[in-house]
Amino acid sequence: MISDFLSLEGLEKTFGGLRALGGLDLSVREGLIKSVIGPNGAGKTTLFHLITGILLPTKGQVYFCGRRLDGLKPHEIAGLGISRTFQNVELFAHMTALENVMLGRHRRLRAGIFQAGLRLAGMRREERECRERAIEELRFMGLAEKAALDALSLPLGEQKLLEIARALATEPKLLLLDEPAAGLNPRDTAQLSETILRIRERGITILLVEHDMNLVMEISDVVSVLNYGRKIAEGPPREIQRNPEVIAAYLGEEGNGAPA
């Protein structure tokens, strides 16, 4: 089933002797929350890197809204409406929470070095709007009071939310969340759950990579399961939980990695 929104066709990535992804067909329908799960090393983050242009596929193509993504630079892909968070939070140091989110508006603004340096009128209006929009996103994520604080001074849970706020500021059509619940306590995870649902309400499609099965099963519309770089199952959460192949794949893992 190929979607017009996001579609990965025959996607393959090898690093030297290691094949991280092999012949993957995956698509995402607009407006849904899709989760990608699988044991560690299954190729999930590689998948994100391939979609966002950090890595080039060894084989296969990535299509987004009718355009071919593979081969484009990351910043160009961001300009097409795809944004993301990172597994290890990558906020900008020495910048406040607000400034981090304002950076997300980068492509929506126009001022170049000369307009900025000479502070031409259009730029000032732009800056004001940028600031207002950024505050809105902070408010949406519940971080409005932290705007003036140094981004890296926030606790991890809030840093992860901040990174999402920053990604939202780019006005994406598709949001990639890379293990947003990692390192969060159950209360923060519940809040995250609710936040992701609110993001979907804004009309943003979400592709989620996660290990926290409760979160995944609770909010996903569709779940894809990867193992050793291949898709072994796909469907609504209930089906995936009962799928014997999926369970077998996870039995190699310790503790609460397996779908409950």
């Binding site: 990351p74 944004s83 906020l91 980068h106 001022a111 730029m123």
Partner: protein, 315 residues
Amino acid sequence: MKKMDRIALFFLALAIGVFPWGVGGNQYFISLLVFLGLNAIATMGLSLLMGYAGQISLGHAAFFGVGAYSSGILTTQYGLPPLLAFFVGIFLSALIALVVGKPTLRLKGHYMAVATLGIGEILYIVFNEVAPLTGGPSGLSGIPPLAVGGVAIEGTSFLYLVWGVAFLLLVFSLNVINSRVGRALRAVHGSERAANAMGVDAARYKLQVFVLSAVYASMAGSLYAHFVSFISPNAFGLMFSILLLMMVVVGGTQTIWGALLGTGILTLLPEYLRGLEDFEMMVYGAILLSVLLFMPQGVLEGIRRIGTRRKGQVA
């Protein structure tokens, strides 16, 4: 720009304004402040590159030299008006920066540092070797002072000219820092990967700020040529590149004011050491090493931390 910036600008303007009166027209002190201003123009650009964009250049003296030689050669050998020579210098510096910047800014850390070192050295060799044009090691003399309507701009009036330019560039720089571009640069410094993911064309911005910093250095070099009227390649070699870098680092890479402070310290310091000819470089190196070891964030940040500690706050 921020309020603190405005206040600082005001006091700086004030200080420069009264300075000539304060030293009773003493040409030695005025020259010193002129050199301070010239260095400051160059380090401002370097600060944008290093402090904000997080890159490094160990060869910036070369761009200073390009500006100086452009002004020097075009006004003496070709009789061009200084303003035109000034812009030719800017154009050449920008062009060189564009050409070498693209492949160099892709490099990481140490590799970038050494590449810029190499570029600086190559240009230094060119200054020495293209003797018919540059005068080679013996230098180029007879560079005319700047003049308006036949009246030469020297001494105090030149001081105001240099600092006028420095001021304009400072305001320009502060505007850039507090804008979308400044955010993009700082983002690239923080995490190039995340910046790219948010739509910032990191490579393009790095190149832009590199070219801009080269242009600043070129402007300073052109003014320098008209001030000293005699230039030779030695002024544009490795030691000066390192000096410029040190000014930014010692003062503090966090802000552009740090670079200005560092410029102040390292322009005035050698003057104090002047009496101790033989000791000069050694003391210089020792002081720099100590600052780096004990105040790696730079003097400005060091002062600020002592200030907040005194108030009883947790630093």
